[in-house]
């Protein structure tokens, strides 16, 4: 299989792009967990305006294209003095977008924590934040694991968006090489492999985690 020597010479550049993609994905994942928990906490809180704010955030992030969200953020950042930072805009946009989905995933798994479990904790005199951190959160996270891993894959597949604000992640790097060398097929093949090499194992991991959680639950019998 003959690869154009120009492409081979561009390999380090492409790998740098691949690493930046991974960095973006991880930053987005971190942001997703933070924003997701925040949105969930606000939704469960006592202040109605904050509850509504959280719901609006989730509806907006899920109802508008991430491309538009990225542009809005990219052009809004300079207004708060954070202009000229495409990487920040991209990571923030990814985190905010994914955070809405994370919040819904966690919310969907809240029922794992039965009312009885919470009552037992209240009867002991446990403060609310400890009930959340020691009783509810560990169980909710555990039940959400397959869906969260899936969300991670979706994050990875959303990172190419950063190329439209000239962040040199894998897709943009690929485009730059193509512009220089006119070897679309070979470069796109490498770029595709770059994504598949991460996405496919992670998807496989999600399936296996989902199965093992399901089997653990079944052997535990009725939800206690």
């Amino acid at each position: 299989m003959g690869f154009d020597p120009q492409v081979i010479r561009s390999l380090p550049f492409l790998i740098d792009g691949w690493l930046l993609t991974l960095e973006l994905t991880l930053l987005g994942a971190a942001g997703s967990l933070v924003f997701g928990h925040l949105a969930l906490a606000l939704q469960l809180g006592r202040h109605a305006p904050l509850r509504w704010g959280a719901r609006l955030y989730i509806s907006f992030m899920r109802g508008t294209p991430s491309l538009v969200q990225l542009f809005v953020l990219f052009f809004a950042l300079p207004l708060v003095g954070l202009g000229g930072k495409p990487m920040l805009a991209a990571a923030l946009a990814l985190g905010l977008n994914s955070g809405a989905y994370t919040a819904e995933i966690l919310r969907g798994n809240l029922r794992v924590v039965t009312a009885g479990q919470v009552e037992a904790a209240v009867a002991l005199g446990m403060p609310r934040w400890r009930i959340w951190s020691r009783i509810a959160l560990p169980q909710v996270l555990s039940a959400s694991l397959p869906a969260l891993i899936n969300e991670f894959t979706i994050l990875l597949k959303t990172t190419p968006l950063a190329s439209v604000v000239a962040v040199t992640e894998l897709t943009y790097a690929g485009q730059m090489v193509i512009a220089r060398t006119y070897t679309s097929t070979q470069v796109m093949l490498l770029v595709s492999i770059g994504y598949l090499a991460v996405a496919l194992p992670v998807i496989h991991l999600a399936r296996r985690t989902g199965r093992s959680i399901a089997t653990r639950r079944l052997s535990a019998g009725v939800a206690s």
């Binding site: 009552e119 037992a120 009867a123 002991l124 005199g125 446990m126 020691r134 009783i135 555990s142 206690s224």
Partner: protein
């Protein structure tokens, strides 16, 4: 100042509780002395469980007062009005233990961790001390050997005993039992009642809502019969069960124990 234990462990005065338009508790008063075992019986809907949940403010009453020792629960006593802050109520709750019908163990923690959690979260005990205290509590219910197991691998009776251990570890002044054996298969009831008998023998103050008339008759110092949100009859178990004075209690006992009562 050394605190001498007060003779009255817990007290409810004219407790009223409604859910929507249903008045579940219609002015219930009950005094439980230190070291007493009081059993509360009655048909479903009589308000027994609701009364228990009012006692530890899990379900605050609409009117009336609840006292632990000489401290009023949930509301400011003395000259001041209004509810107590959440942190105060939590502290009061930690003096009261509760054992639930559906055990309510935390499935993601081991038996030992379940028993330790209250000590660390509420009493701020360091991990090692909590672990020792939890082990001791498990020993009292005979389950120290299963401390590394998860609740899912335990039988119902064992889970309930862990629930009791979780309460014991907190060293409460009074333990409330909300139909502790109602969710158990018949052959598992005995092991839980045995633990409860052991606690009674050690002068633990207990308020037990139960259908187990045999247990109530043998172990309780006083039995209380509730119906329609009120206490209908109250007294030593022999008096209540062998010589019921109210028709409703007679009907109730007949349903559970269809033998003619001695006249």
């Amino acid at each position: 100042m050394i605190e001498t234990p007060k003779p009255v462990a817990m007290r409810a005065e004219n407790v009223v509780k409604s859910f929507g338009s249903n008045r579940i508790l219609d002015g219930v008063s009950l005094t439980v002395m230190r070291g007493e075992v009081v059993c509360v019986l009655g048909p479903s809907g009589s308000g027994k469980s609701t009364l228990l949940r009012c006692l530890n403010w899990l379900s605050p009453p609409d009117a009336g007062s609840v006292w632990i020792g000489d401290e009023r629960i949930g509301m400011r006593g003395g000259g001041r009005q209004g509810p107590l802050p959440e942190s105060e109520i939590r502290r009061q709750r930690s003096r009261i233990g509760m054992v639930f019908q559906s055990f309510n163990l935390w499935p993601h923690m081991t038996v030992l961790e379940n028993v330790m959690e209250g000590l660390m979260s509420v009493k701020r005990m360091p991990r090692l001390a909590a672990s020792d205290a939890a082990f001791e509590a498990l020993r009292q219910v005979g389950l120290e050997a299963r401390r590394g197991a998860y609740p899912a691998s335990l039988s119902g009776g064992q889970q309930q005993r862990v629930g009791i251990a979780r309460t014991l570890a907190m060293d409460p002044e009074v333990i409330l039992f909300d139909e502790p054996t109602s969710a158990l298969d018949p052959e598992l009831v005995g092991e839980v009642l045995a633990v409860m008998r052991g606690l009674a023998a050690r002068s633990t103050t207990m308020i037990v809502v139960t259908h187990e008339i045999g247990f109530a008759r043998e172990v309780s110092d006083r039995a209380v019969f509730m119906d329609g949100g009120r206490i209908v009859e109250e007294g030593p178990p022999t008096q209540l069960f062998d010589n019921p004075s109210s028709d409703r209690l007679r009907q109730f006992l007949f349903r559970f124990n269809p033998t003619p009562s001695r006249s």
